[in-house]
């Protein structure tokens, strides 16, 4: 669906509104932006966008139909069928739509597309969004850093594994977590998601299986599935991923890797216990099952730091460890890292070079300055306190309004509360009803297929006022639907 975001009607112009709309769409078609086969947005969406009566739209589209430029097709909506050039020419233009349907990459899941779309509405209350609220992002401090620092940055391509200066700083940073990693075993990537993308392109066969927690963030992205891999969920208990059946699963399902988020798991907020970590590393050693440890939330603890990462327990190069600046300093930086055995890092670095020639040197510079100046430590302390306060606030609301409706965990860090609704209610309907009232939810089925019981709540994005208003209304909606 197309969004005419760049254009608005001139309501004080002499040209009638329907004529302005006619000309706008005609120019889109004639310059090839709306190529043949493109679906025109629905009449009511156009009417809403341009804030005109639907009849104005009907009139404009009627003209375009009379010109032979568009056509309504049953079950397909209104489609561009011609443009000036093709009216004159004898051959039809290329059918881009057949290309759009090709390609190995699967489109985003529908519900995620719906969520992404709703997120562009600035007034919506986002109860499940997994990113820091703009007011918690240190944009001003970043500005300040650029203004005060006199160290020069480079505008050239950076080293294949990323800026050596940044990798040295990360090596220090990781040491504090108990991870011994020299700069040559660290690869700078454009965020945690790209880390997963590189692993899928560089280390795995089509048809191999990735184990993961049930539920898991990984189910909300297509990075492995689009490369032809399968996901297989492993159950969790209150200490984390259950390890007893891993060996059997590996043999039965041709398991290639285990993906886990031990600290402040997305979406459950769970913290894997120290014992479970040791147990997991041992089982995976025994089964020769490599691990991807996703630690993007590890620094966001409230009262005490999490147990040592799996990577710190591993002395065998069993674990590929990944981190990111997205959840702490800002996702706009697009900076993350992968740590692992050098041959693996070398391979991933080669693929990274082949797909985008490395990450932004400006962003790498900024992260290096944050780490070396102490800005990072200062900022992260502030964010921990902020998030803890927001968690407490949210838990209080849950206690007051959800006691009989649902149960939940109390996270010790990170962003998420995994709300389990007691009664069976139609979650899809809940989502739609809430959206209609300006409240955006993240339903459980984004993270585990066919889930009908959970919502991922997050206290990192919405303001306290919005959290209160949104959650109370949510409790009412759940009550209504469970009648």
């Amino acid at each position: 669906m197309l969004s005419p975001e760049e254009w608005t009607l001139n309501k004080s112009s002499q040209t009638p509104l329907h004529q302005q709309i006619y000309e706008y769409i005609q120019s889109k078609i004639m310059n090839g932006e709306w190529s043949i086969g493109t679906r025109i947005p629905a009449q009511r969406d156009l009417a809403k966008k341009f804030q005109v009566n639907r009849s104005t739209i009907v009139y404009a589209l009627g003209e375009l139909t009379a010109d032979g430029l568009i056509e309504s097709k049953v079950g397909k909506g209104t489609i561009v069928v011609n443009n000036t050039w093709s009216l004159l020419a004898s051959t039809p233009p290329p059918d881009w739509n057949s290309y759009v349907k090709s390609g190995s990459y699967q489109p985003n899941i529908q519900i995620i597309q719906d969520i992404n779309k709703a997120e562009t509405n600035p007034k919506i209350i986002r109860l499940g969004t997994g990113e820091l609220s703009p007011e918690l992002l240190p944009a001003e401090k970043m500005q300040q850093m650029f203004q005060s620092r006199s160290r020069m940055f480079s505008l050239g391509y950076s080293e294949p594994k990323g800026s050596i200066h940044l990798r040295e700083l990360l090596s220090e940073y990781l040491k504090a977590k108990g991870i011994i990693a020299s700069p040559s075993s660290i690869l700078i990537v454009s965020g945690g998601l790209q880390a997963l993308q590189l692993i899928s392109l560089g280390l795995l066969h089509r048809g191999s299986t990735i184990f993961l927690e049930t539920p898991s963030y990984l189910n909300s992205v297509h990075v492995f599935q689009s490369a032809g891999m399968n996901l297989f969920g492993i159950p969790m208990d209150h200490e984390g991923l259950l390890t007893d059946s891993l060996g059997r699963f590996k043999r039965q399902h041709n398991g290639a890797l285990l993906y886990t988020i031990p600290s402040f798991h997305n979406p459950t907020g769970m913290l894997m216990s120290s014992n479970r970590r040791i147990d997991l590393v041992n089982v995976c050693k025994k089964e020769r099952l490599p691990i991807i440890e996703d630690d993007v939330y590890g620094d966001l603890w409230f009262d005490r730091s999490p147990p040592a990462p799996l990577k710190a327990i591993d002395n065998q190069g069993l674990v590929l460890y990944m981190g990111s600046m997205s959840k702490t300093v800002g996702p706009g930086l697009r900076i993350g890292w992968i740590v692992g055995p050098e041959p693996v890092i070398d391979r991933l670095s080669d693929i990274k070079m082949q797909t985008d020639y490395g990450s932004s040197s400006l962003s790498q510079f900024a992260v290096a300055e944050w780490l070396s100046s102490g800005f990072y430590d200062e900022h992260i302390k502030k964010i921990r306190a902020e998030l803890k306060c927001r968690r407490d606030f949210t838990i209080d609301i849950l206690n007051a309004h959800f006691k009989d409706l649902a149960s939940w965990n109390i996270p010790e860090g990170g962003f998420y509360i995994w709300l389990c609704i007691h009664k069976q209610i139609p979650i899809r309907k809940l989502f739609a009803k809430a959206l209609n009232e300006g409240i955006l939810l993240n339903p459980g089925n984004v993270y585990v297929r066919n889930d009908q019981q959970h919502l991922r709540l997050s206290y990192c994005y919405a303001s306290l006022g919005q959290l209160k208003k949104g959650l109370i209304r949510l409790s009412e909606l759940i009550q209504e639907l469970s009648k």
Copy 2:
């Protein structure tokens, strides 16, 4: 091969050098960075890196062999075979090497790997490198921009197609080239290479064929081949790509797309004539063959701007147009753009979101500021003058020293001269001999398979002094080898 970049010997320490090296490698193995199966760098490479006698290396490796940590295997070099943990345990660790050999992505071509490696040597004279010399990159001006601007940047995720502010500015920028593109038909990407990567993931089937010029930049990267597509080269004459057989080739080879670099082609420096452009667009319309127009060098003209881009001639959405800041302001920004029909841009944007959640917002901010402040125009004028002067300087040297050895084009913009050596000489040997003397070449076979006659020269990277010294020595080497 592993580069111990992060560590140096302490030559004034009491610990003998061989002991320091022993401990260094032992720790690499014990913490899993050099996992089982990792190949240790060759003795002479280690000796060179650490600047010690080879005997010191032999001694240290002997100790490690005695420990049972490494083993020399005929034809495979010295391999890590054990680590402390695995010496104690009964089960072997995971075999990462089998993973490194998996994955759909092909490793970089050997000669490119060699070139990349040689480029890390700061003293080498780079006669073929396709990026602006660090002294031409406006790092200081960028610094200044960050210091003076008071507009705030965002650290959040940006809109799915990239910053709307930047897309509006690009829409203006493209208008000056005759391209009508509204912001919603523009996608911000992390450089031109990523544009190609997204097209390969999002629009093409495995087994489809991409047409391209012979020779072409595209042969130096694996982006389409790794996704299972074939490349098929089309010959060129002095006006550009030959169009007569395109239709026949399309039918014979299941052609899906044509990739072309009409302005200041990489590697030939060729400028496609205005007539050929019109001809090409007409043929492709007739054959319904979509075009990728790679215009990353388009702004780098010397005396007059190139003819209108194919995209400006196209009114049918036949052309996907791509540009980048890499060749003008700096590759470290990692900012490029794709312009095309909206359904195609929507699809590519979805995949971009699924693979890395968008490009660096810092870089997007910087590019927007450059375009809106006039810094870009100012800078590009300077670069044009600089490059023209370097071209003239280089052509003078060729006239003085290569008259009887080779022929070449005189580029009207961009970076490249395609040197055709008259006598048949072993180019691989020329490459090695030159490298040995500190001169790095880009042989023609990087851009067209089995080429034995060409070198890509570039006048954008090496200093004038280096160009002179390097080219004169090159002429002597060619003479020696053609005897």
